[in-house]
Symmetry: C2
Subunit: 134 residues, 2 copies
DNA sequence: ATCGTTTTGACAACGGTTATCAATAAGCAT
DNA sequence: ATGCTTATTGATAACCGTTGTCAAAACGAT
């Protein structure tokens, strides 16, 4: 049976207070700074649980998993700032149906999809002129 | 100045002969089995170069980077079989414009996007009935 | 309070990737 | 061809995020 511990709840709360996507290690550091004495392994486990339960979104960037609290049950995608990490949730039914259709068209079943848009948010666009070509 | 070595060319050719996405280590093993004596580090470097030059697509799955040769210059996405790795290149102008629009709408600049669809291809759907719920 | 089972957490181990650095070889100039 | 400069190679070590280990702690039912 699944048990409720203050650690898991602390991770959930810390995640909800984080503005954008955070890494497990980052969240652990934040929590430690805030005085919460939670083990690193526990943070990893709690985040993985939250993700499988649908209470958190996760994405992979540069070899590490990033997490973000999300409204449970709703399927959506993200618009993420490459510099500051600010994230906007975006829903796009058109993309959902497109993904399903293109999969079926090629005989694929049980389709999943990964759709994320990265860029520089308004603020960071202002601060950082294009010294990055991409 | 950029130099041409037989190692880099060997990696390019091995990648082009691979049917789906391959990992750096997998490609290295394949090449070694085929008698090509190329260092692992070199394979990593060559694949990274190919990806930045636009001659290879890359995606991240389960903590590792996978690569695939692609027609240079063309932007497209993939429909990937979760079981056998077979890959279909898909073009979707609708998704391209959608990504650009949603980014601009929220004030984001220099938008990139990651759009990949995973599923079980026709063959694998037949072989593996749904003992995986997702 | 007691008990059985789950969870925790410090640390080791793991796996993919990158850095190191001496040895090699590509490409240019002569 | 020869030498020279410098990018590249490759064996290995280091790195870093993540997961396994396992004894100790604690949840929840009784």
């Amino acid at each position: 049976m699944k048990r409720n511990t203050w650690q898991r709840e602390a991770v959930r709360e810390a995640l909800e207070e984080s503005p954008g996507f955070v890494s497990a290690q980052g969240l652990h550091a934040t929590m430690k700074d805030a005085g919460s004495e939670v083990g690193l392994a526990t943070v990893y486990r709690a985040l993985a649980d939250l993700a499988t339960e649908g209470d958190a979104d996760s994405l992979q960037q540069e070899g590490e998993s990033l997490y973000r609290a999300c409204t449970p049950g709703s399927h959506h995608h993200h618009l993420i700032c490459r510099r500051c990490g600010t994230t906007v949730e975006i829903a796009a039914d058109a993309v959902e149906t497109w993904a399903r259709e293109v999969a079926t068209l090629h005989g694929f079943t049980q389709p999943h999809h990964v759709v994320d848009v990265f860029g520089y948010c308004a603020d960071c666009s202002r601060l950082a002129p294009a010294h990055r070509i991409l």
